[in-house]
Amino acid sequence: MSTPADASSGSRPGLRVSVDLNLCQAYAQCCYAAPRHFRIEGHEALFYDPAPAAEHRADIERARVACPVQAIRVEDPGQDA
C-alpha cells in the first residue's frame, strides 16, 4: 500500500481506483500484480490504494486485467495528456 506522500509525488496526475467489493472474491491476483497497492488481510478483506501515483500505472493496469471477476475500475487522467 503506498503512502499519502507517494500519491502526491510525480508530475502527472494520479490514478483513481475503485473496487466493487461485492464482486471481489479474494483471488488476490491484484496483490501479486501490484503488491504495493493491493493487499488481503485475514481470509478475504481486500484493502487497496484508491489514489496511486501515476508512475505505478503499469502495475495498476496489470492488477485490473488480472482480476478474475473484473472488479477493479481505474481512471487515468494522464492517459490522454
Binding site: 499519502p4 461485492n22 479474494a26 485475514g42 481470509h43 478475504e44 484508491p50 489514489a51
Partner: protein, 423 residues
Amino acid sequence: MAPVFERAVVVGAGLAALRGAEAMREAGFAGPLTIVGAEPCRPYDRPPLSKHVLAGTVPAEATTLPSALGPDVDWRLGSPAVSLDRVGRTVRLADGRTLPYDRLLIATGTRARPWPNPHEGRLAGVFTLRGRDDAAALRRALAARPKRVLVIGGGFIGCEVASLCRQLGLPVTLVEPGPTPLARVLGRTVGAFIGAIHAGHGVEMRCGAEVEWLEDADGRLVRAHLVDGTRIDADVAVVALGAVRNTEWLDGSGLSSDPGGIDCDGAGYVLDADGRPDRHIAAAGDVARFPHPLYDDRRVVLEHWSQAVAQGIHAGRLLVGATPERPYGELPTFWSTQGKLVVKSAGLTEGADAVAITQGDPAAGRFVALYGREGRCIAAVAVDSARWLPAHADLVAARAPFPPGGTATDRPKGVAVFEPGFA
C-alpha cells in the same frame, strides 16, 4: 432518445448521481448536464472512509471516484438544492440560483442520524461518520490514541468502526440496545455469531444497553452514562445510529416523499402525492423508495453501494429514453469489511422465518447463512465465505425452495435450521 437541446439536472453528487450522469452521456445524451452537490467536492467513494481512511492508510481526499464524465458537465458544488418547482421545472439552490431542467435525477442520499441531544452531539470527541470530512476528523481523533472509544449503535457502521479500533490497538466498547449487534438486519442468531467474532478480537460488547447521556469536562467528552446506571469512561464516541434521508428539500413539491424516502414507480419515475408518475423526474440510490419485484413489490429503500450504481445507471438511462420502461429489480447485495472480517449479503432478510447454516461453521468464524420465508429462499449472508455467495444468490434470485435440497458439501448430516431471531 431525448432531443439534444433538453437540459438534464442531477441533484446529489454521490455514487448514484455520478453513475446516473455517466449513463446519460453513455446513452448518447449530449445536452446541457448540471450536477448539484451539497459538499464542495467531486463524488467520492464512501466504503473506504470507515476502513482505509480511519486506519490512516489513505487520506480522505484520495477517495474521489473514478469517472467517465468529460469536461462537458456543469458542476454546482457546495450549495445544496433547497426546493423543487415541478410546474416551472426548476430547482432552486441554497445560494439563490435557479436551474431549469427537462430531465431531473434525484440522488440526494442520506446523512448520519445525529445524537438526539444536540448539545452533547457537538461535544469535542463526539463524531458521526457519513462524509469525507467526518472520516478525516475521526481519523485525527483516533490517531491521537484515545484511552477508550465508545461506539453507539451496533449496525454495520458501528461494527466496522469498533473492529477497526481493535486493529489500531485501541480499547473500544460497543453499546447496542438490541440483543446482539446487527440484529435488525441479520437477526439475533447470525448477529450473535458475528458479535462473538468481534468480542474475540477484544471489542467490549454491551448489548441490551443504552446510552442515556454524555458527560463532558470543559466541552470535551469524558464518559457516557447508561440507562442501567453504569458509566463508560471514553474520550471518543462514534454515534452510529443509522441515516436520515435527504428529502426535506422536496417539501412543497407535490411529490410523495417523507423522511423514509421518495416514492418511485417500478420503472424509477418519482410519484406525486396522488401516486402518479412524473416522467421528467427519476430517483436513485439511498433516497429512492421503490417496489421490488423480487419481494412481491414491497416498497424498499436500500442504502447499498451496488444499489447506488445499478439504480443510478437505470435511472440515468430511463431519463434519456434509453431503457425500456420495465421494473428495476436488481438483486440487493452489499458487503461490510469489519476489521479483517468480510460480511457479504444477497437479497433482503426482512420477514425471514428461518435461517440455515449451509456452509462452514459459525464457531470457526466462517459460514454462510441462508434465510427463508414461507418455504422460499429470500437472502444469504456470507461471513468470510465470499466464494459461496454467488451460488446462494442464485437460489435467492430464483426464490428456490427453503431449506434447499440436498446437503452441503461439508455437512453430510444435513443443514441445521434455526429461528432467525427478528424482533
